[in-house]
């Protein structure tokens, strides 16, 4: 499922990285320990985090994630958005908790036969 449709269906705000919206969401990953995320998140995952600083873009890039979802109303830094735009990594934001994001995402992704 394309990041664009995924973001729309979940009601996420697309903050940046518009050039990456045609990427495919192939799974979900949640976590805030960057070392852990890098070594465990699968390629194409939509990553739910509460971090908003620029390092999340590097982590997404290294891990080939399809997008970053910043949950719980956390607002990303400008440096993060600039970097995400440059690297074509969509940054999506929501007031939902990580749990709510995953719960909703599961319904959508399961219906689409993704995971």
């Amino acid at each position: 499922m394309k990041v664009r449709d995924f973001a729309h269906r979940l009601g996420l705000d697309v903050l940046d990285g518009n050039d990456g919206l045609d990427g495919e969401v192939t799974g979900m990953y949640v976590g805030d320990l960057l070392s852990w995320v890098m070594s465990h998140a699968g390629k194409g995952s939509a990553w739910v985090t509460i971090h908003a600083h620029v390092n999340i873009v590097a982590v997404a890039l290294i891990t080939d994630l399809s997008c970053i979802i910043i949950a719980e109303g956390v607002k990303p830094d400008k440096a993060t958005l600039d970097k995400a735009e440059q690297e074509k990594i969509p940054v999506l934001a929501t007031e939902m908790t990580a749990y709510e994001v995953c719960w909703k995402a599961h319904e959508i992704l399961q219906a689409e036969g993704v995971c």
């Binding site: 320990l33 070594s39 971090h51 590097a58 290294i62």
Partner: protein, 142 residues
Amino acid sequence: MNFDSIKLQYEIPANNFTAAGEIVSSMKKVLSHLVINPAVIKRVAIAAYEGEMNAVIHAGGGSVEVTIDPDKITVKIADQGAGIPDLELAMQEGYSTAPEDIKQLGFGAGMGLPNMKENADVLDIDTRVGQGTTVVITVYIR
């Protein structure tokens, strides 16, 4: 694969997280142009990023040299920080001296060195207290 060895050099400024991210993205681009197996690129990227972050967080910055040979990728990260007094302890998962503000950024889980060891085929660390640390990560291209 048929190309001469390629060398990339970067500086990692102290307390600059953005720069370390830039290095990884630029390195990743070069590697993907060379049609190297994505799994190999990912291993190099994880190990290099952890090493760069250590230089930024624990050693006041440093320098990175990436050498791409037909059969292997080598990343050398050198700093002139305080060095690691007990390397065996530092290699243990969960051991970290990172300050609280760094932990709040999602670093300092004490997984960096273990992650580097796991992703590198060869990890060579030369550290001297009061002089600095040089880490050499080697990943073979199979």
